[in-house]
């Protein structure tokens, strides 16, 4: 229950296994665990499945393609509509070297939430009548059609928050929350990088974005800047 500190992001992720499914918090530059992603790259782990909002928008996740560490990506942004800029992920995807499961953003977060909240699935209209509904169960209830979306979980979640206390409570800043609080609930092992570590009680109880019971490991790092490449 008391989160474990690590001196470096490399130590914090050292025991991630080849073939692991990794939930990666953040939305482009906001709330992105950039040091943990770099550490995964340095670790050389392979055959990974990454679940993240975006890949190939200038984000560090794309770097995991340099040495073909990713077998599969589950994301909402993956291939740019315009071909003026290309990512490593895109090149590998076109070469058939990495699998892509594209998921609508609202469905991705609900699937993760279901995975963390003990729900067997949710019914949404999002994706009905589109490629996203292929192979999925639909139901008609009271004359309305719904698409059944199943839970999604990870072996590991990599999160970024602003501050943490010794109990693992996380406080986010600005729009840095995004996928982080839900991903914190949906993985066996939750690792957070934070900019600052404080004493329990310093984060006011109503400003805790992720209660400490969800967080297994903490590492304090200076964030690595990321920008969207348009």
């Amino acid at each position: 229950m008391i989160a474990e500190y690590f001196d470096t992001p490399d130590d914090a992720i050292a025991d991630i296994a080849d073939g692991a499914t990794i939930l990666v918090g953040g939305f482009v530059s906001a709330g992105t665990p950039s040091n943990l992603i770099r550490a995964v790259r340095r670790s050389g782990r392979r055959n990974l499945t990454a679940v993240a909002n975006n890949i190939g928008l200038g984000d560090l996740l794309d770097e995991l393609c340099e040495d073909r560490q990713l077998a599969k990506v589950i994301a909402t942004f993956a291939i740019r509509a315009s071909g003026t800029r290309s990512s490593r992920f895109e090149a590998q995807y076109r070469a058939g070297e990495v699998e892509l499961e594209l998921v609508p953003q609202g469905t991705l977060i609900e699937r993760l939430r279901a995975g963390g909240a003990g729900l067997g699935g949710v019914l949404t209209r999002t994706g009905l009548g589109t490629m996203m509904a292929e192979g999925k169960q639909t139901m008609e209830l009271d004359g309305e059609e719904w698409l059944l979306e199943r839970p999604l979980r990870g072996d590991v979640a990599l999160l970024k928050a602003w501050r943490a206390d010794r109990l693992g409570n996380l406080q986010y800043r600005l729009a840095g929350r995004n996928f982080n609080p839900v991903m914190a609930t949906a993985a066996e092992l939750v690792i957070a990088e934070v900019e600052e570590i404080v004493e329990p009680g310093e984060i006011p109880p109503d400003q805790v974005g992720t209660p400490g019971i969800y967080v297994d490991r903490l590492v304090q790092c200076e964030p690595i800047p990321v920008r969207w490449e348009g």
């Binding site: 939305f27 482009v28 530059s29 906001a30 709330g31 992105t32 909002n53 928008l57 200038g58 909402t76 942004f77 993956a78 291939i79 740019r80 509509a81 071909g83 895109e90 995807y93 076109r94 892509l100 594209l102 998921v103 609508p104 953003q105 609202g106 469905t107 977060i109 609900e110 939430r113 949404t124 209209r125 999002t126 994706g127 009905l128 009548g129 589109t130 490629m131 996203m132 602003w162 986010y172 800043r173 600005l174 729009a175 840095g176 929350r177 995004n178 996928f179 982080n180 609080p181 839900v182 974005g209 964030p223 800047p225 990321v226 920008r227 969207w228 348009g230």
Partner: protein, 224 residues
């Protein structure tokens, strides 16, 4: 038969301005990536339009490149400024807001819009893979869906078509299409031409539209 090239219509900025005029004062609006993002620069502050970004902001006032804070970006990754009374939330709450019908209007880019209001905007078959972001949720959840796009492709093919051949974003979701050439209303009975861009004739719009277009009502020039 259409001329070889469509007439010169509105610039991207003027399309954004026309979209801004379409927004109700006091409404809550989500702007998609690309052209729709420009709309934030054209609303009247007195209209108190509140912009929602699906990454977890309600109440950003516009793009502010001067002062980049990695944690304060919109869904297009652009740095934004906040209005007084803004709020932050996580992605689950953001899409509860979107999917639950709490957003008055969404402005999305488009690749194709069909006569019955189907939208295709996330997948270019020649490129594959795609990026869907929040588009499918916005298309089913926003109370009013405005599509802002060029009237024809670079190759001169109409984007407004009887039936979309690009993969759909959602069925029967579009309410209004605003292009460089025209403003077209979409209803269960089909497409109705409401406005033409300055210098663009009704016949021009009909010629470059790939679906039946009702031009029998009053058609005026876009107020810009």
């Amino acid at each position: 038969m259409p001329a070889d090239n469509p007439p010169t219509g509105l610039s991207r900025e003027l399309i954004a301005l026309r979209v801004a005029r379409e927004l109700e004062p006091g409404s809550v609006v989500n702007l998609g990536i690309g052209l729709p993002t420009l709309v934030a620069g054209f609303v009247e502050p007195a209209d108190h339009i509140l912009f929602q970004a699906e990454n977890g902001i309600l109440g950003y006032s516009g793009v502010s490149e001067s002062d980049f804070d990695a944690d304060l970006i919109n869904a297009g990754g652009q740095p934004v400024a906040l209005v007084a009374g803004a709020s932050f939330f996580d992605t689950a709450d953001s899409f509860a807001m979107i999917r639950g019908g709490h957003i008055d209007a969404a402005v999305l880019g488009g690749l194709q819009v069909s006569a019955r209001g189907d939208l295709a905007n996330w997948y270019v078959p020649s490129r594959g893979g795609g990026s869907v972001g929040g588009a499918m949720d916005l298309a089913v959840g926003a109370r009013k869906l405005i599509v802002a796009m060029a009237h024809v492709t670079r190759d001169g093919e109409p984007r407004i078509v009887e039936v979309c051949d690009y993969p759909l974003t959602a069925r029967r979701c579009v309410d209004v299409v605003i292009t460089d050439l025209a403003v077209i209303d979409v209803s269960p009975s089909g497409l109705t031409l409401r406005e033409t861009a300055p210098g663009v004739s009704v016949n021009d719009v009909v010629a470059w539209t790939g679906a039946e277009l009702d031009t029998s009502g009053p058609v005026c020039e876009m107020p810009l």
